[in-house]
């Protein structure tokens, strides 16, 4: 458990968190904790999302129509709310991904320029 050193890094830019959440649900539906764990997994533990930022982001994305929430049964037969990526969300992810790549490339270029 490398919780302590990463505490600072969990403060994410909103846009980045949205991007990560959309990415986390591309391969299937997840409930809240599942989304957090999936992000941890795909960022190799670099980002740990706390409920205080996770739930607002999930609900905001749902509000925009990028995610769809449905009540279902978890692996332990517990009632949980599952989030599924909607077509609009998939397109959004594509757009965000491209702009992220442009930013990364631009920043990298800028840093290399000095």
């Amino acid at each position: 458990m490398n919780e302590e050193p990463n505490e600072e890094k969990t403060e994410l830019l909103q846009g980045t968190l949205d991007l990560l959440i959309l990415k986390a649900v591309t391969l299937g539906t997840h409930h809240g904790l599942g989304v957090a764990r999936r992000i941890e997994q795909i960022t190799r533990g670099a980002f740990q999302v706390k409920p205080g930022s996770l739930f607002p982001a999930l609900h905001r994305l749902e509000e925009h129509g990028f995610l769809k929430a449905e009540w279902g049964e978890s692996e332990n037969n517990r009632r949980a709310k599952f989030y599924r990526l909607m077509p609009a969300g998939r397109r959004r992810l594509e757009v965000e991904k491209q702009s992220w790549e442009r930013i990364v490339a631009a920043i990298a270029h800028a840093l290399a320029a000095t």
């Binding site: 809240g32 706390k50 409920p51 609900h59 509000e63 925009h64 949980a80 709310k81 077509p87 959004r92």
Partner: protein
């Protein structure tokens, strides 16, 4: 449908905050539980796992608050975007925007105007405290469901009936001659029991109102004046309290002024009833008062009726001579005031609601045809990541913007419309002056706009969102895959418009024919060139019968001497507004049981009355000058009396008298039979009338009826001069031509007919615009096909028939559907109709033909344009 599910999630978020909260609680709870499970699986003790999980989640309330903010933020952010975008879009299409806003403005305006009438007349409370507990009370006989209350019976009710906090009585139909300052004037006066204003719970605008002490003859004579009279006669002078006025020569002190909201029986002055109750007018056998009771809390109308009925039966036993067969009943006061107008207003409200539906369908059609050109735009927005829900929301935002703009315009139209309505003063609409555009009406208009916006915006929005963006983009935005679905939707909307327009036309047609039937009824007299005015002799100046008879004789003689006069006569009641009814007994034909004697209208008339009114004499003779005092007493009866009681034969020479069999009244010999007159309004067949000679009766007031070719404005000064020459203090009151009187007796029917007619015309025009739009659009879509047809040798007539045929097919469908609905609507309004069946085939056929003709015109214009298509241009375009 996922789209609808998403829409409902938005609604849940907006309107059902509590459920969203619960949902969120559950979600966080399940997150917490999953976290604990995870930690336990990793080897923690359940206790430690719970603690660690709780710390990790932090404050649940904080999380919830942040979620709420995020949701609201997302919503608000997109709303502001949508609004800005919507406004820009609408501003870019001024033609479309103007057409839509105008259509909606008309629909919402008409609805708001009618709502303000309904609100003012039916929904607003009456003046006074707790008006819902006020009940109007009356008495009845086996023959007549409603007769006024006799004063002694009222006193007994007050003592014995337990259902009321208190009961009051009044008589609002007296008239007094006010003399002193200025011209003598007839004022409408009311006699009120001292507790009347307390029972109503009304507060004085100035001074005090009458109280039971004023009923005593020892008290200083007090009068209370109505607001209108105070303004008219006293210029709203606040020092009027304490002033003395002369009514019929008696002095009264004005003790107070009523508030403007309190209007009862049109009385301008209210006097204490107690000052008059010693006169024979208020003995038990005389019925002349209206009762007003205030129910105790929790007492229902049914319980009150049982209570009152029981007391009425006691009174029958206690006073068998006067009260045989006399019962008592009552109904909520508001019911009595607006009961007759409720159904017509409901029909108006329904009709105007249908107009709004047609307007909505039309705007939806406009939006649909515009959606065609916007499909590309929206496909692009969806492609770059806008959720479809966002697109739908965007479209609905635009619709709501249109609707609110239409609502603002409608409110303006309604405001003007209500001014106009009140100025038109449809008679027989009670409480008309209470109508105004107020906060309730404002809220109604706003709510209506929002509902309207959703109604016409939803279908096109859903339609657009459902179409496939990829296809739309591939087709380059020119011809779109949604074309067929859209045309189906547009056609469906137009069919509905046609059907609704037909329903309204049928209703309007039924009301029109019914009105024609009603005004075509023979009233039994000739209203043209006849004028009536009320002359009342004050008791102080004309204290006895002989003097009154002499005065009327002289008056009549002077008036008839005018060269402009063809005929002149006196009568105590005019047709259509009969107020005097009396029980009668026929000699040798005792009633089945005491108290069941029939009631007839009774008129005291001078010899020339039948000739002046042009009432036909059917048998025997009319009233003649020889029928004077000391001669044998005679009576002339109307046809229905002869038919009802003598089988149409042998009435002449029979004897009858006023009152029940036991009452000591002189016998009258029937000497003539005249045609029936519609005494209780045109709708109601006459119950039968008896006419007794003026010279053999006593009347202190009578209508002077004159027949002359001279216009009223020239005639009136002549009449006034003759009367003044006889007695300077005699006013002429209630001057009216009989044409006007007949007219105003059908004013409410005319009002309903006119309004529904206007709404039907509006709906028809809107439907025609709808047909035109659909056909014109279809012609534009098919211009290539039409070009090919023409190129291949189709004649212009063929093209014309093709296009018009398309329009007429949907019109025919609308007519069929509308006709079915109209049959139902006809049954709903059956109670408003007079001698016409709700399914009248002529009306149905006429309306259908009118719709078809207008549709032909609407489809014909685009068809003519299509027939002019230049095949080369049409083909090269593709």
């Amino acid at each position: 449908m996922p789209l609808l599910a998403r829409g409902s999630s938005m609604m849940r978020n907006l309107f059902r905050r509590e459920r969203v909260d619960q949902d969120l609680d559950e979600e966080i709870g399940s997150y917490l539980a999953a976290l604990v499970e995870e930690k336990v699986a990793a080897g923690m003790s359940p206790e430690a796992a719970r603690r660690a999980a709780a710390i990790e989640v932090g404050g649940v309330e904080q999380v919830k608050e942040r979620v709420r903010q995020a949701r609201a933020g997302a919503l608000l952010e997109s709303l502001v975007q949508d609004l800005r975008y919507g406004l820009r879009t609408l501003a870019r299409n001024p033609g479309f925007t103007a057409a839509a806003v105008l259509t909606l403005g008309l629909g919402i305006g008409a609805n708001t105007a009618i709502f303000s009438v309904v609100d003012g007349v039916l929904l607003s409370p009456l003046a006074g405290r707790d008006p819902d507990r006020l009940v109007m009370l009356w008495e009845m006989t086996p023959d007549t469901p409603q007769i006024p209350v006799s004063y002694p019976n009222y006193l007994d009710w007050r003592q014995r009936v337990r259902s009321f906090e208190d009961i009051a009585v009044y008589n609002g139909f007296d008239q007094f001659t006010m003399t002193g300052e200025g011209d003598p004037e007839r004022v409408r006066g009311g006699l009120a029991s001292g507790n009347l204003f307390t029972v109503f719970g009304v507060e004085p605008a100035a001074g005090r109102l009458l109280d039971p002490r004023d009923d005593s003859l020892d008290a200083e004579p007090a009068a209370v004046i109505a607001d209108g009279f105070w303004r008219r006669r006293f210029a709203a002078d606040p020092r009027v309290v304490g002033k003395s006025i002369l009514l019929d020569g008696n002095a009264y002190t004005i003790v107070g002024v009523l508030p403007p909201s309190f209007r009862l029986a049109g009385s301008e002055v209210w006097l204490p009833l107690g000052r008059f109750t010693h006169t024979p007018r208020f003995v038990r056998a005389n019925h002349g008062l209206i009762g007003i009771g205030r129910l105790k809390p929790e007492v229902t109308i049914d319980r009150m009726l049982a209570d009152l009925g029981a007391v009425a039966r006691q009174l029958q036993r206690d006073h068998p001579a006067d009260n045989a067969g006399i019962g008592a009943a009552g109904a909520p006061l508001k019911e009595m005031m607006v009961g007759s107008i409720r159904q017509p207003l409901r029909v108006l409200a329904a009709a105007v609601g249908l107009v709004l539906l047609v307007a909505c369908a039309n705007v939806a059609n406009l939006l649909l045809s515009r959606a065609a050109s916007r499909q590309h735009e929206f496909a692009l927005r969806v492609a770059i990541g806008a959720g479809r829900r966002r697109v739908v929301r965007q479209l609905i935002t635009e619709s709501l913007l249109l609707a609110v703009a239409g609502g603002v315009l409608g409110l303006g139209l309604a405001w003007a419309g209500v001014k106009l309505l009140v100025a038109l003063r449809p008679a027989n609409v009670p409480r008309l002056m209470d109508i105004q555009v107020d906060a309730t009406v404002l809220a109604f208009a706003l709510g209506l706009s929002v509902v309207t916006g959703l109604l016409f915006g939803l279908a096109p929005a859903l339609h657009l969102a459902r179409s496939e963006p990829i296809l739309a983009l591939q087709e380059g935005g020119r011809r779109t895959s949604g074309g067929r679905a859209r045309r189906r939707l547009a056609t469906g909307l137009t069919v509905a418009e046609v059907a609704i327009a037909l329903v309204l036309l049928v209703v309007a047609g039924l009301l029109l024919r019914s009105f024609a039937r009603l005004t075509g009824v023979d009233p039994g007299f000739e209203p043209r060139n006849a004028t009536a005015a009320l002359v009342s002799l004050p008791e102080r100046d004309y204290p006895d019968e002989a003097r009154r008879r002499l005065a009327f004789r002289e008056l009549l003689w002077r008036v008839r001497a005018l060269p402009q006069m063809q005929d002149a006569a006196l009568a105590t009641d005019l047709p259509l507004t009969t107020s005097w009814q009396t029980q009668v007994t026929f000699a040798g034909r005792p009633p089945a049981d005491p108290g069941s004697e029939p009631f007839l209208n009774a008129v005291i008339a001078s010899p020339e009355y039948f000739r002046t009114m042009r009432i036909r004499l059917l048998a025997g003779r009319g009233i003649e000058p020889a029928d004077a005092q000391g001669r044998s007493r005679v009576v002339v009866v109307s046809e229905s009396v002869a038919r009802r009681f003598f089988g149409g034969r042998g009435a002449l020479g029979q004897r009858m008298k006023q009152g029940g069999a036991g009452v000591e009244n002189p016998w009258l010999t029937i000497v003539g039979i005249v045609a029936d007159v519609r005494n209780d309004g045109l709708r109601i067949a006459s119950r039968g009338t008896m006419y007794v000679p003026h010279e053999q009766s006593d009347a202190s007031s009578a209508w002077l009826v004159v027949r002359s070719e001279t216009p009223l404005e020239q005639l009136l000064p002549l009449l006034r001069r003759e009367i003044a020459a006889f007695d300077r203090n005699l006013p002429l009151a209630n001057v009216t031509t009989l044409d006007d009187a007949l007219d105003s007796s059908v004013a409410q029917e005319r009002f309903s007919m006119l309004m529904v007619g206007i709404f039907a015309a509006l709906a028809l025009v809107l439907a025609a615009v709808g047909i035109y739009g659909v056909i014109a659009y279809s012609v534009a879509q098919r211009s290539q096909e039409i070009g090919v047809r023409i190129a291949l040798g189709a004649r212009r007539a063929d093209v014309l028939a093709l296009v018009v045929g398309e329009g007429m097919r949907l019109t025919l469908l609308g007519i069929v559907l509308g006709a079915a609905a109209a049959l139902g609507a006809g049954r709903v309004i059956a109670s408003l109709l007079f001698e016409i069946e709700p399914g009248d085939p002529a009306v149905l056929a006429g309306a259908a033909l009118l719709v078809a003709a207008v549709a032909l015109l609407a489809a014909g214009l685009p068809a003519l344009r299509a027939a002019q298509t230049d095949p080369r241009a049409a083909l090269s375009e593709g």
